[in-house]
């Protein structure tokens, strides 16, 4: 179980996060929703360890993690933007992420990817779907996904959703995206970031109550 608590983040004098709490468990996809600029991506970066915060408490299986989470080797993070260098081939990325080539070929059976292709030669959408696949399929314990459904074709979004359901059985997965319908569909547990605090959503109608979506959107 991944538990983050008391996360406070300032940008200059402006406080973005006020003591955010989040709990993510193996076997469940934990979704984070929130309006633009509310701090969803900032929260994931802080948990990953790539961004400093004023306060934070991170626990994995009840043990407090003092160092940056990425330095433990327990976590992989998908940032909003392409992050795998242009010079790297798909084959090499698969090796680094400890994924079997056959798993890749099975997932992308409809696509004509060459394993020798370099990331710099892929289109934006192709690159994104491969990066999402690598991050989800890698054998790390904790997976943090920032906007995995952006820039991806609908048919591939469905494939990613199916992969999420398989991988969550042995991983702790936290996901955030602007496409709230996709998040609500794949998530077993949802948090809404509102006014810098996290609110655990028990019923989707609360999203209307908190004015995250307009009334009647769910029907």
């Amino acid at each position: 179980m991944l538990e983050v608590d008391n996360i406070e983040k300032y940008f200059g004098d402006v406080q973005i996060l006020y003591g955010v709490y989040l709990k993510a468990e193996q076997g469940k996809v934990t979704g984070i929703l929130g309006s633009n600029g509310c701090g969803k991506s900032t929260l994931l970066k802080i948990v990953f360890g790539a961004m400093k915060s004023k306060y934070k408490l991170i626990k994995v299986d009840g043990n407090i993690i003092q160092k940056k989470l990425y330095a433990t080797g327990l976590v992989k993070y998908l940032p909003q933007h392409n992050f795998i260098p242009d010079f790297m081939s798909i084959r090499k990325a698969l090796q680094l992420y400890k994924i079997e080539e056959t798993d890749f070929q099975d997932f992308f059976i409809e696509d004509d990817f060459e394993l020798s292709q370099k990331f710099g030669h892929l289109s934006g959408g192709q690159r994104r779907i491969v990066e999402v696949f690598l991050t989800l399929k890698t054998p790390s314990r904790i997976i943090l996904l920032d906007e995995p459904f952006s820039h991806i074709a609908p048919v591939q979004i469905e494939a990613i959703k199916a992969l999420l359901q398989t991988e969550k059985q042995h991983k702790i997965i936290v996901v955030t995206d602007h496409y709230y319908r996709d998040i609500t569909e794949v998530s077993d547990s949802i948090y809404l970031i509102k006014n810098g605090s996290s609110k655990h959503i028990q019923n989707l109608t609360e999203l209307e109550d908190y004015k995250y979506i307009s009334e009647g959107s769910l029907s």
């Binding site: 990425y70 330095a71 992989k76 392409n82 010079f87």
Partner: protein, 94 residues
Amino acid sequence: MRNSIYVFFYAKELLILTSFLTVCYVVCKLSQLPLEPLIVAAKIVLPLVFYGMKKMSDKSSLYFLYNLGMRDFVIVFWLLFLSTIDLILLQFIF
């Protein structure tokens, strides 16, 4: 540590610049121009500036190195090593 090779690829712009400075250093040595201290300083400062700029960029490929478990001080160490190791070798040559 075995993934440190990727710092070299990641910092290829820095490598080009630092190679140029090495050539400048050799030229200064041979022609006895008093610019060697400036070049040495530039070779030390450049990796830190390079790293700082990457760190501040939200679209940074530093996330790739982080995902490989590489920590900030290891990345900075390799960048400094990359940029300055040739100066130590050149001291022996000249």
